[in-house]
């Protein structure tokens, strides 16, 4: 069967500072961080293959400047690098039996959320049909809103807040905590060996439990709202179809198609 893994970086174990995540240059701190998330991706892939030896796995590196070290990525995994060069839904189709979301961080404004943000540093918040969402909910809604049928997100890994958010969205989803968020750039990290073992075991369990984990389905039409910090430009948002300016800091879009949105 086909399985889809999407990775972000900020929620990985032993990642806790912006300098490990941002920028185009592959300096030492970014190289370190890439190794950590790549090891988590490999543990997940191993678990999927444990449960489905013929698994066809596609991984999309969803972190803007890239977070996967291709030289260390499991060679059995197909790979779509570098976040934003591919339009939504980022290679995900209804043919996939399930999706795995790794390296997840908490959404913008989460108190004490380690590397908490939603897409960019100037975003105060995103809302989908009136509900405040972060990147996780956005991606889960996207998978649940595919035109040819929803794909369930089976497993989410990331900090404790990200895992709690996943359970709020879909109580049945499996989660693996990588760290306890303590502050914007601070966490208590679990032992990577434990995280990797749990990812492998839970990924296998998720494959087996596939039919019992519902997709996150938000009914169309979609009303998506973005509020930015004071002084930020709304131009990029206003270039999306069916989008209007609500006030100086807020844009809103109403659409029947989630990939037309910015979430």
């Amino acid at each position: 069967m086909k399985w889809y893994i999407m990775t972000d970086l900020e929620g990985a174990c032993r990642v806790e500072r912006w300098v490990q995540c941002d920028g185009s240059e592959l300096h030492y701190e970014r190289l370190e961080a890439r190794r950590f998330i790549t090891a988590e991706a490999n543990a997940t892939a191993a678990g999927i293959i444990d449960a489905d030896p013929d698994a066809d796995i596609v991984l999309w590196d969803g972190h803007g400047p890239g977070c996967i070290d291709p030289s260390l990525l499991d060679p059995r995994v197909s790979f779509i690098p570098h976040g934003w060069r591919i339009p939504a839904p980022f290679g995900l189709t209804s043919e996939f039996a399930g999706a795995f979301v790794l390296g997840t961080h908490s959404r913008a404004g989460t108190p004490n959320g380690c590397l908490a943000h939603t897409m960019a540093g100037n975003v105060i918040g995103y809302w989908l049909n009136g509900r405040e969402i972060g990147e996780l909910a956005g991606r889960m809604a996207m998978a649940g809103g595919l035109p040819d049928g929803p794909v369930p997100v089976l497993l989410v890994s990331g900090c404790n807040f990200a895992c709690a958010e996943a359970h709020e969205l879909v109580p049945e989803v499996l989660t693996v905590e990588t760290k306890l968020s303590l502050a914007p750039e601070r966490a208590q990290h679990r032992p990577p060996a434990t995280v990797h073992a749990e990812l492998r075991a839970q990924a296998a369990a998720a494959v087996h439990a596939r039919d019992d984990i519902p997709p996150f389905v938000v009914p169309a039409p979609y009303t998506v709202r973005a509020k930015l910090t004071e002084g930020s430009s709304l131009d990029w948002y206003l270039r999306h179809p069916h989008t209007t300016r609500i006030d100086e800091q807020t844009a809103e879009q109403v659409t029947a198609n989630l990939y037309e949105t910015w979430i």
Binding site: H27, Y28, L182, R186, Q188, H189, R190, P191, A193
Partner: protein, 264 residues
């Protein structure tokens, strides 16, 4: 059992210059120093597992700008990275069976002490706790001793010969592993790293087995913690702590029953 490891960078083997420790950027010198400390941590961790197969280990990287190479750190242990920005007791709890202090340097003002300092190597002249001069080791050992109903014992200290002596003076029963002999502010004779690692593994195991017999440094409250700055530095940063009182231009004091509420 649960074990806690506090690390600093200046006391590691083959570390003896400020440009290996003070820099925020990951220069080749800093990367090398981090690798040296990380190897020592891994050796001590292995010793803890030798003595306690079920060990649950938490490391706090207590060096301000980070002293651990997290890619080389043993993957079986939990981690709080870097020193700055976190408040006492730094993840240490009364449930920990013992604290190990690695990479320790001597307190500020120690003659011939390699990279000797107390907290801020640039600004602090001396800390005193209940009138007694303390370095980082003493301050943290006393703080650990205040936790819970019996306190957490400091069971092993590694660092230069003077840091080890400082530990022994405060805790006669503590296990120590010298990494080098201090010869001056930026000069030391380093032991063979291989000997340091095997000592760390053995002594960490021995310390874990003996932990119940190593008394915590349990001082009775109230605690009077006094910080004196070097000439030219003020105490503004300390005055935001509850109860902090300025004594003179470069001296500040706090009297408290709870050391974890101070700058310790």
């Amino acid at each position: 059992m649960k074990w806690y490891i506090l690390t600093d960078l200046e006391g590691a083997c083959r570390v003896n210059r400020w440009d290996q420790t003070r820099v925020d950027e990951l220069t080749p010198d800093k990367l090398y120093a981090r690798r040296m400390l990380t190897a020592e941590i891994n050796a001590a961790v292995q010793g803890l597992y030798d003595a306690d197969h079920e060990a649950e280990i938490l490391v706090w990287d207590g060096h301000g700008n980070g002293g651990i190479d997290n890619t080389l750190l043993d993957e079986r242990i939990a981690l709080i990275a870097r020193g700055s920005g976190i408040r006492p007791p730094y993840g240490l709890t009364a449930e920990h069976a013992g604290m190990l202090v690695l990479g320790q340097h001597p307190m500020a003002g120690t003659p011939r002490g390699t990279l000797a300092h107390t907290y801020s190597s640039r600004t602090v002249e001396e800390y005193r706790l209940n009138g007694q001069p303390v370095g980082e080791l003493g301050a943290r050992a006393v703080m650990a001793g205040t936790l819970g109903t019996r306190g957490v014992p400091t069971i092993l200290v590694s660092g230069d010969d003077l840091a080890c002596a400082e530990a022994r003076a405060l805790i006669p029963e503590v296990y120590v592993v010298p990494t080098k002999t201090s010869l001056g502010e930026e000069l030391a004779e380093h032991r063979a790293p291989a000997a340091v690692y095997s000592d760390l593994r053995e002594q960490a195991a021995a310390a874990a087995r003996a932990a119940a017999n190593i008394p915590p440094v349990r001082w009775a409250p109230p605690y009077t913690l006094r910080a004196r700055m070097k000439e030219g530095f003020g105490v503004e940063g300390y005055l935001r702590y509850d109860g902090a009182t300025q004594i003179d231009e470069r001296t500040v004091e706090v009297v408290t029953d709870d050391l974890t509420k101070t700058w310790i």
